[in-house]
Structures are given as C-alpha cells and as structure tokens.
C-alpha cells in the first residue's frame, strides 16, 4: 500500500483510529504500534481550556510523506499511517495518530517512535494553548 498521510479537520475518534490501524495492518504483519497524541488538561503549569492547531497543509503533508518514505527505507515497511488533526481540539481529544505495522514488533516500535519524533521537529504544524489566563502559540 501507499502510506496514509493526511491533515484533517475531522475528529480522530475511535472509528477513525481503528480505520487507520486496519488500513495499515496486512497479513504479513505481526506487530502494530499506534501512537496517539492527546490534548492534556494542563501544560507549563497552566490549566488548558482547549487547543487550536494550525498547519501549512500542503507542506505538512509533503513532510509527512517524506517521513513515511524514510520509514519505508529504514524499516522495510510501507504499512504506515500518519494523520494530524487541525482546528479546535478539546481536552482528551486526539491530535495525531501514527500507526506502523511490521512483521516483527521491534521495527514497529522504532519506526513509530521515529515518525512521531520527526513529525514534531519537521512538519509545519502549530499549536495554540488556550488557558484560563490567556492564549499563546507554543513550541513542542
């Protein structure tokens, strides 16, 4: 398959996450690792009300596809899904899902970890924390 890559405004709810896991998992895969980023109720000592994500969508999807291509080369799997939601997200909602399916689990863990780490440092997506005492675009 080609990797599933998407910037979306749709909720990454249970059905959406399971659909990604199913799309990524093939009959040759024995281990599937899924990372979900979830909106926390506090950060930097502040109580968060909600988050607002923005992206440079065309470039973000190109960078995410580049990550999937690197994963494919280094871990020999193209069974990868990387989806990031933008717009307003409430506490407990999922901002990003990365799924990697491999024949064996070690590769799936490494590749999934690599993908989310690299996403955070290279993909043009931004986060505004709306806290009880103000709002701010924050790094990380």
């Amino acid at each position: 398959m080609a990797a599933v890559i998407k910037i979306t405004r749709d909720p990454l709810d249970d059905a959406a996450v399971r659909a990604l896991v199913r799309e990524a998992t093939h009959a040759s895969d024995g281990g599937v690792v899924t990372f979900e980023g979830v909106v926390r109720d506090h950060a930097r000592g502040k109580r968060i009300r909600y988050l607002e994500y923005d992206a440079y969508p065309e470039m973000a999807e190109e960078r995410m596809a580049a990550i999937a291509a690197e994963v494919e080369q280094r871990w020999q799997t193209d069974h990868v899904a990387i989806v990031h939601r933008i717009g307003r997200l409430e506490i407990g909602e999922c901002s990003v899902v990365v799924v990697v399916a491999c024949p064996h689990r070690a590769e799936a863990f490494e590749a999934c970890r690599y993908a989310i780490d690299t996403l955070k440092t290279t993909v043009p997506i931004w986060k505004k924390e709306v806290a009880e005492d103000g709002e701010e675009w924050v790094e990380g």
Binding site: Y53, D54, Y56, M59, V96, T122, I125, W126, G140
Partner: protein, 81 residues
C-alpha cells in the same frame, strides 16, 4: 519580481491576513523580506526572527535568493504532535 507570502498560526493572527503577493527586488532573500515585513507589520518584528523559512514547501536558508513566483512561508517554532 513578485513572490507570494502565506501566513500561518501567530503570523496570520498578527497580520490579520492569510497571505499576500509581495514585490521584491531581483536577488532578494527571505532575510530581506523579513526586514520588509517587520516594517510593514510591527507585530511581526518579534515573531519573525525565530522563524525558519520555506520556499515552495521546502526548508531553505534565510539567505538563499528568491525567484519570481516563489511561495514564501515563515515557519514559527513547531507545535505539532
């Protein structure tokens, strides 16, 4: 020549617009545009210095020369994940 600027996140909030065309001299760089924009939008003056630069969706050095028709985006510190 003319380049197209797009604004995202805090830069969009500071300018109040999604993007704009910008006339720049031949050989201008992203650093030159940064100076120009900081004068036009005082609110950008403190936001642009930490930004990376993307031209036509690829990261480039701040002093790389721009070309007519380029899409230029200043990339604030990332917050994805």
């Amino acid at each position: 020549m003319q380049v197209r600027i797009r604004y995202f996140a805090g830069l969009r909030e500071a300018t109040g617009i999604e993007g704009e065309p910008l006339d720049v001299p031949e050989g201008a760089t992203a650093a030159d545009v940064r100076t120009l924009l900081s004068e036009r939008y005082p609110a950008l003056a403190r936001l642009l210095p930490p930004c990376a630069v993307a031209v036509n969706r690829s990261y480039v050095a701040t002093d790389a020369p721009l070309h007519d028709g380029d899409e230029l985006v200043f990339i604030p510190p990332l917050g994805g994940g």
